[in-house]
């Protein structure tokens, strides 16, 4: 460390105890000896969310949230603003990648039973983050004011109308007008760039606080290490140091994910930017087939195969409620999936069902 840097650290150390904080939270902070690669997905998500914030701010500097100018402003960003294409592609591809990692993170937590007591609130906050991620994707979808944006939002907001009694009222609230237009763009923009990111930041803070306060759960696989309870905190005295041992693994995983993100954003962004997203919104010209993004295909197909849309909504609502309350439903202490045959069957079966329904939705 150079003298100048050492002096800066000394200065900070005298005032905020930076060395002690680093020791407590990094070098002397022990994580379970049998920790595995899936535990790094939370850090991957932090990096991806950070990148979404950064690219979002760059896009915000040039984006115009007005129906007459939104599409052209995105076109300008992509074609005229220096490296605007990169910011846009990273933002669009990154949002999809964030959903992939969110799903993997949740599935690994479910598989390893990490949601169980005392981590119910950690799970619940993660579940809320997942929903906020989906809401960010949905609201961001409208902003480019493309054919895809316009029609996907028209149909999605129309969907709220199938809720009994208050359906029409909900549609009106979502759109701000009888049809999708400037008012809809305005409120989706506000949600996407202010309300939802603030909510995301707050819940991420709560989630991290809970993870740190309670301690990382011990994986149910491998040689179990010692766990010592200090108040509500689970300590792993025979574990490995978080820094540098596990941070090295996190650096590796984050680097590979970023390599994938940049590869898609530079070489094949069209994988996540459909052709209809390149045409300006035209309220008088409905595209032949509107298909949702891949992560909504299961819901799309569920609604199509149910007798009524309301039943479809109710089924989805019941499933998501079950997922949110999973730690309160599944309260047995056993966490090893291979000692929980019913759980394992449901886990594999539900994933297969979701993939099957999504593929069906894609080709229907």
């Amino acid at each position: 460390m150079t003298t100048l840097a050492r002096k800066a650290v000394d200065w900070l150390d005298e005032r905020v105890g930076i060395r002690e904080a680093f020791r407590e939270n990094a070098t002397e902070y022990r994580v379970p000896r049998n920790i595995n690669v899936f535990y790094s997905l939370g850090t991957v998500l932090l990096v991806l969310f950070g990148l979404q914030f950064l690219t979002g701010i760059l896009l915000l500097a040039h984006y115009v949230p007005h129906p007459d100018q939104a599409f052209d402003s995105v076109k300008r960003i992509v074609n005229e603003v220096p490296y605007g294409w990169l910011a846009r592609n990273l933002h669009a591809v990154g949002s999809n990648l964030a959903i992939v990692v969110l799903l993997l993170h949740m599935l690994s937590v479910i598989f390893m039973g990490s949601y169980k007591k005392p981590r119910e609130l950690t799970w619940l906050s993660g579940f809320i983050l997942f929903n906020l991620g989906l809401a960010l994707c949905l609201t961001g979808y409208l902003l480019p004011w493309s054919q895809l944006s316009f029609w996907a939002t028209t149909v999605s907001t129309e969907a709220a109308g199938s809720v009994p009694v208050i359906g029409e009222y909900l549609v009106r609230i979502a759109r701000g007008a009888p049809t999708v237009g400037g008012a809809t763009l305005g409120r989706f923009f506000a949600l996407h760039v202010v309300v939802l990111p603030l909510g995301l930041l707050a819940i991420i803070g709560a989630h991290l606080m809970l993870v740190r306060r309670i301690g990382i759960s011990r994986p149910p696989f491998g040689k179990p290490g010692e766990v010592v309870k200090k108040g509500v905190h689970e300590d792993h005295p025979d574990g490995i140091p978080f820094f540098p041992n596990y941070v090295a693994e996190e650096i590796a995983v984050v680097s590979f994910v970023l390599a994938g993100l940049f590869a898609i954003a530079v070489f094949s962004p069209e994988v996540f930017i459909p052709a209809d997203a390149l045409e300006p919104a035209d309220p008088f010209n409905t595209p032949a087939h509107i298909k949702p993004e891949w992560y909504f295909l299961w819901a799309y197909q569920t609604l199509k195969i149910m007798p009524t849309e309301f039943i479809g909504l109710a089924v989805q609502g019941a499933f998501m409620t079950f997922l949110a309350l999973l730690p309160f439903v599944d309260r047995k202490a056993e966490r090893h999936p291979f000692r929980r045959p019913l759980f394992l069957s449901l886990f594999v079966g539900i994933i297969a069902l979701f993939i099957g329904i999504s593929v069906w939705g894609h080709y229907s």
């Binding site: 989906l134 298909k291 819901a299």
Partner: protein, 258 residues
């Protein structure tokens, strides 16, 4: 919350705009009164939203008065009136046609627009329209083939440039200006068809070629930009992979010490 977002796509795309009164009535008629509807559906006009009333006038929203002259209904034009009928939209081509030997022979056995292009099933004009059978009905076959030969290279080039623009558009490059220049060049080129004079066709094709050179230069510029992005993108991806491998190596070496 999820169901509310995700019902999103429960409705498939809305139906296309309702058929006009013309299509509703004639579409259910047998024989010569109904045939134009099916022919039109396959046409370049239908593909571009040009419907019956755009050419024949009338009120497509009112079945009772759809064919009323008071609502601008024109009906079927006389053969000598066809060039002006089509020329309301195809202005430049109509002028060129009128100045050509074809146009000067109108009413004296010369062809009008539909003689070569057909009427309701009209397709996007291409060189395929110049063939020995069609032109040979009035001319010696070699004359038509000479004109076609003079046009072929330029036509092929326009086609390949159009094909080259599509993947660029798919990659979100703004190709509107290039499309506009190509559209203009194509129009100029199509106008040449109607002069039916080999010397003018050859001279005109040269000028069109200069416009196509400009479009080609723009496309080359975009390809150079794509290559630059790929080069630097590859470097960044490589650096991340390298950093990942270093992380794996560090983790393994630390694991050995644990």
């Amino acid at each position: 919350m999820i169901p509310l977002f995700t019902l999103l796509f429960s409705l498939s795309a809305a139906a296309a705009p309702a058929d006009t009164a013309c299509l509703q009535c004639h579409g259910s008629m047998p024989g010569r009164l109904g045939a134009p509807v099916e022919e039109w559906k396959q046409s370049v006009h239908a593909a571009n939203g040009i419907s019956c009333h755009d050419c024949h006038g009338g009120d497509p929203t009112d079945p009772a008065n759809a064919m009323s002259p008071d609502r601008g209904f024109l009906g079927k034009p006389e053969p000598t009136a066809v060039p002006d009928f089509c020329g309301r939209c195809h202005v430049g081509v109509a002028d060129d046609y009128k100045g050509s030997l074809h146009g000067k022979a109108l009413g004296a056995g010369g062809p009008n627009c539909v003689t070569c292009h057909g009427n309701h099933a009209v397709q996007r004009a291409s060189l395929a329209i110049i063939d020995e059978q069609r032109c040979g009905a009035c001319h010696a076959p070699d004359r038509a083939m000479k004109i076609k030969a003079a046009l072929q290279a330029t036509d092929d080039r326009i086609g390949s440039l159009e094909a080259a623009l599509e993947p660029l558009h798919r990659q979100a490059f703004d190709v509107e200006d290039m499309k506009g220049e190509l559209f203009q060049a194509r129009n100029d080129f199509h106008r040449l068809f109607h002069t039916v004079q080999v010397s003018r066709v050859e001279a005109g094709a040269g000028k069109v070629g200069e416009k196509l050179d400009a479009v080609q230069a723009s496309i080359d510029g975009v390809h150079a930009e794509i290559a630059r992005r790929h080069r630097w993108g590859g470097v960044v991806v490589g650096l991340f992979v390298l950093m990942g491998l270093l992380g794996v190596a560090l983790r393994r070496s630390l694991h050995a010490e644990e």
